[in-house]
Subunit: 209 residues, 2 copies
């Protein structure tokens, strides 16, 4: 296997944290998004979608989404489960991770990509050109604020998003909150449950990989 990563980007960080939590080792190839390496012919041959993370399997096939990579690795390395230990937990974890990605991670990304000059003609990843829409900058921030409030209420007295165990839902939420600094959104002071959870998951060794 080979893991195509970018040390500074939020999406592949989700896979890095997962790999660290699993305590497995996969050879890494760094792709420098800042110098637009994802648009080089050599990388487009690996992933025509021009994104990281990518997991190249031993038969040469590739997985090009965080979710695809996570599920593959969870199937191969079932110990230290990160997607629940039974049907109810599996359903809950996938349910929460999906919502955290759609309402949090995507909202931050929408605000960021429609503002940064680097993405003037690339409001989406990939080879197609899409111009920026300035109204999405503020809409993304508004959605991020609602996302923080929902997470705070959800957590309440829970240790982790899905209950008493760390899961991929926590990974996406952690990465989203750090990503949100790029659009100048921080957890409001009165969101005590969310702040406590954030401090707790940020202390895990996996959060620093």
């Amino acid at each position: 296997m080979r893991f195509y990563d970018c040390a500074t980007a939020p999406s592949p960080r989700r896979v890095r944290i997962f790999i660290a939590e699993k305590e497995i080792t996969i050879p890494v190839e760094e792709v420098d998004l800042a110098s637009r390496q994802q648009h080089n012919d050599s990388f487009i041959k690996v992933n025509p979608h021009r994104t990281v993370p990518v997991l190249e399997l031993d038969d040469g096939s590739v997985l090009t989404s965080t979710q695809g990579i996570w599920h593959y690795l969870e199937y191969c390395y079932p110990s230290k489960p990160l997607m629940g230990r039974n049907a109810a937990e599996r359903g809950r974890v996938i349910d929460l991770e999906w919502r955290v990605e759609q309402e949090g991670f995507m909202a931050v990304g929408e605000s960021f990509r429609n503002k940064s000059k680097a993405f003037k003609r690339h409001a989406f990843t990939g080879g197609q050109e899409y111009g920026q829409i300035p109204e999405l900058i503020e809409r993304g921030k508004l959605r991020t604020g609602h996302f923080f409030s929902w997470l705070d209420q959800l957590l309440g007295d829970r240790k982790f998003l899905a209950g008493d165990f760390f899961s991929i839902a926590d990974i996406t939420a952690l990465v989203t909150i750090d990503f949100a600094r790029w659009i100048k959104c921080e957890i409001p002071d009165d969101h005590t449950a969310l702040k406590n959870w954030y401090a707790e998951v940020s202390r895990r060794p996996s959060s620093c990989v």
Copy 2:
């Protein structure tokens, strides 16, 4: 269990097809989105996100995303697998379904919700208000066109999206293509592989539930 459905909406149709393919039976409660039943207090108590599909489990907990419901049911009813039969297939199916949803289903939804008068202050589902952004109508159609082309190339000589077996990636793609009629986007005539695949999956009894 109880499945909260809406016969006319694309999202819960993905769950209906899954249930039909599994050949299982789950009691159904119809939620009439046309008369805004999802905003009634009684339904908000079931799902504060005000969306269908919802799967209520026997302990009273709820799953409120297609993905959460699918994974729960796949875990409970592993025969007739719809997410692959081994690690490589699982990774590929999840990978493809994720991309079909993000680049197809979400693109159609974006165009539709930013145009229809019914969603003037509700460009997203849920209780928060977000105004429509007219530029997203055309952008969503443009993305849908690129999505069709990608699917056509991906399919080539394959029987189904992930290979020789029907999976959740096919379910989301089928529902997306039918949903795209709502924004007047149809498969172009020269997308032969996609047209053949569409005819094939539309003939399955599950497509009519």
